[in-house]
Symmetry: C2
Subunit: 295 residues, 2 copies
């Protein structure tokens, strides 16, 4: 299967009921993720006899300058999670000429509506991998889903990479036997730092312009991506969160995070897109690691 191309998107677009359904799903997923991550925090604190486990702190934001919509960030700083952000947003408006050229379905009408969820976790322990998951639904005169999930360990570990990929493959296979291979390759291509000739992490899946013609199937796949991510990542975290680490491991993690920051600022389309379209700075840069070294 080839990567989906904007030019192959079918005509027609999601209706109000469908848009609401996606938006509601992202809210539900956000609640589940926050609940699970807070539970992991509590488990670790119980194990280490630490009081005051981290809690998510929510913060609403609205787009300013007369732009439509807004979102809600939830950020937790804890003992397990040095920084983890879960952001949902639903925005609408008109694309500037600069952008509409590269966005499907905006030739005659630059109006857009978009909803999405984005999760980035930077754990305290260098033995617990960082993770990113994002799914989104974009509506212009066409409509499509996009997203993915990828894992960034400090010290790559074959078992974790295999566990993560196997779970994603199983999730993808339920929907289309060709998805996993295609989206895995797309992920490897996307999360790549050309200036260092290295991948950001150990990959996962990445997809865009998904519209099979059946909204319910595509939403169903989107749900699978979110739930698979949540399930497999919490398993990987539990495998490692109680293990002791060294100062050297931590130093290694802070340097590895420099690559993460480089990727997000130099190459990430979402970051560039958000910063150039007057998005919410705090929400866009929520993904930045809490503490980074370039020694």
């Amino acid at each position: 299967m080839d990567k989906f191309e904007p030019k192959n998107l079918p005509m027609g677009t999601s209706n109000a009921q469908e848009k609401l359904e996606v938006k509601n799903w992202f809210q539900q997923l956000r609640d589940r993720i926050c609940y699970s991550f807070e539970s992991l925090e509590e488990e670790l604190c119980e194990h280490t006899n630490t009081s005051s486990p981290g809690k998510f702190v929510p913060k609403k934001w609205i787009r300013d300058q007369g732009l439509g919509g807004g979102g809600k960030m939830s950020i937790m700083h804890g003992h397990l999670f040095e920084k983890v952000g879960v952001n949902i947003s639903t925005v609408h408006g008109e694309f500037s000429k600069e952008f509409s050229d590269s966005i499907p379905g905006t030739r005659d009408n630059s109006a857009f509506w978009a909803t999405g969820i984005s999760v980035v976790a930077h754990p305290q322990s260098p033995l617990v991998p960082a993770v990113h998951m994002n799914t989104r639904h974009i509506v212009t005169s066409k409509s499509w889903f996009g997203g993915g999930a990828d894992l960034t360990p400090t010290i790559p570990n074959d078992l974790d990479a295999k566990t993560f990929h196997n779970a994603l493959k199983k999730g993808c296979d339920k929907h289309n036997p060709e998805y996993y291979q295609c989206f895995k390759d797309w992920c490897r291509e996307y999360f790549f730092l050309p200036h260092r000739n290295e991948e950001r992490g150990v990959g996962g899946i990445f997809y865009d312009y998904l519209n099979t013609g059946t909204f319910s199937s595509d939403l169903s796949f989107t749900k699978t991506v979110g739930l698979t991510f949540l399930n497999v990542y919490t398993n990987i975290v539990r495998q490692h969160m109680q293990k002791p680490w060294t100062e050297k491991d931590k130093e290694h993690q802070l340097i590895k995070r420099g690559r993460y920051a480089e990727f997000n600022l130099l190459y990430d389309r979402g970051t560039q897109f958000g910063l150039k379209t007057g998005g919410n700075i705090e929400a866009i840069l929520m993904s930045m690691p809490p503490n980074v070294k370039w020694p």
Copy 2:
């Protein structure tokens, strides 16, 4: 005076003798800067009874993949300077089509030769401002100088900003009474983070495409920029380096450095140019702060 425009560059280019003269100057300036910064380290260590002041560690590099030239980085990690890098390089080759369109004098011949010096200092103390200075000479079928110096305090201080700007103004005025105002405005425009609607620091000067038609005058101005920077910055460092600071000041510094990292990766032309033309990653990213927080 308007900013210099590539289209106004005179015909003709620097000869071998002139190129050598600039290259030698950058080596001399590098030696003076390293000597002065090591002296400041020693002064602070003497004052605080600390042994082992930081020393610059040199590292040569050559451009690989058959590209011509190379350079030498000198990096110091010390008690006063958490990280300071002084990089000189002299490179030559041919611009790719992608770049030559935006570079003067390459329409009929894409060959270039360039030499430059770049300094970025990130002090340990949040009371000592970070600083950047760069000067360069580019030769295609035309030739020109560019560069500047700018100050980035954690906690802006009117006196330091005034001292820094007054010194640059005095230096500029010796060469052309219109330089300072023009280059100051250019600096403010260049070191600006649109997504945060804030300047990177308190400014300084920035210029490019400088070719008055008299090589010796332009080299002389380039020398003034380097020496003025060295003189005024060491004075500012001495004003503050022995003052105690709080944890809160340090936290503020680490967050401020996040803006510095954002600027360099999102907007800095030198960084983007270097990364896209197969430059030396370590030398290009030498400017990144040693320790950064995005809380």
